[in-house]
Symmetry: C2
């Protein structure tokens, strides 16, 4: 282990989902096994750092002031805004093709234990969008946990003055799931979210 | 998704053990969630790329001509050379504290299916070390699979003229393992490797 190697490993270990062993393996791969990929990664990082920014309207990734979704008139016209925790949630919803409205990315959820308050989230620009009157329906697609729940309640209280229809995405059995493998919280949500056949 | 974002994701996906979802999450983390870590990673990559190279003697990572192990006279004096597949194997053995000799890293194993032949491995410098007469015992610490086996046999044939003691690390039940959970190959190896009590 050399100082530069350890410095690289330390930075790689900070990436989400990467532990000590993975970072070691990645560093060895970049330096010894595929040294040409090291320069390619540096170039990609520098290019993305220079070009990619956060959409001023919704918080999605973009390479200009607005992201491709916020620039798309047809998607804004729906009046629907889907609130998600992370850009990756937005990308998942986009890939599903199930949604045709606009988004708003909070970049996190309220978590007093981890010191995340409303000022740390991308909430101010959501309020601005509500004030401008472009939001008819707000669909909360936040996680089904205590922090997601708390964030939903905070947003509902905050947006009360604007008479916006607020809904939350359904919870229940995933596609292909069976009752036997579902945990208690999922089953409780599924029972509460039952729909008439 | 923007072009620079996709270019970065593509490079991250090439890292070992990283799939599509992980690379997406890592790219979002680097660009939006922790933008300061992006520059830190670029600096670490550039520093490591500039400073870290392969030890000319054994193939370990180093920041000069020889790695710290090959520079250590006491470790060379043992006459023991442990042959490993990857630098990460070397690091694991070093962390265990169980070995005090020198190493030789092949940077792979023979694998005709994947087009890896002897000329793709760090074998020539092992031959040079054997010719110089500094190797008394060669300990093969290669994986317990067909390719590892083939690499062992290739090296044994190659080093026959040098009258070096060649051994292979033991195979069997891992520490804390019990017979009931061991697979057939492990049990076969363990029976073959039995020692008198």
């Amino acid at each position: 282990m050399t100082p530069s190697f350890e410095a690289l490993q330390k930075q790689l270990k900070k990436l989400p989902g990467i532990g000590y062993r993975s970072s070691e393996r990645m560093a060895i791969h970049l330096l010894l096994e595929k040294p040409e990929s090291c320069q390619a990664l540096i170039n990609a990082l520098e290019g993305a750092r220079k070009n990619v920014s956060s959409c001023q309207c919704c918080g999605n990734i973009c390479e200009s002031e607005l992201c491709s979704i916020c620039e798309n008139g047809r998607r804004l016209e729906t009046g629907q805004v889907c609130v998600v925790e992370h850009v990756s949630d937005l990308l998942s919803l986009e890939k599903s093709g199930a949604y045709g409205g606009a988004y708003h990315v909070l970049h996190g959820k309220l978590s007093p234990i981890n010191g995340v308050g409303p000022e740390d989230l991308n909430i101010e620009s959501l309020l601005k969008r509500a004030e401008q009157g472009n939001v008819e329906e707000l669909i909360l697609a936040l996680p089904n946990d205590i922090e997601g729940e708390a964030t939903c309640h905070y947003l509902i209280d905050l947006l009360e003055p604007f008479s916006i229809n607020v809904s939350r995405i359904g919870f229940g059995l995933p596609s292909g799931g069976s009752v036997i493998y579902a945990d208690a919280v999922t089953l409780r949500s599924a029972l509460e979210a039952r729909l008439k056949f």
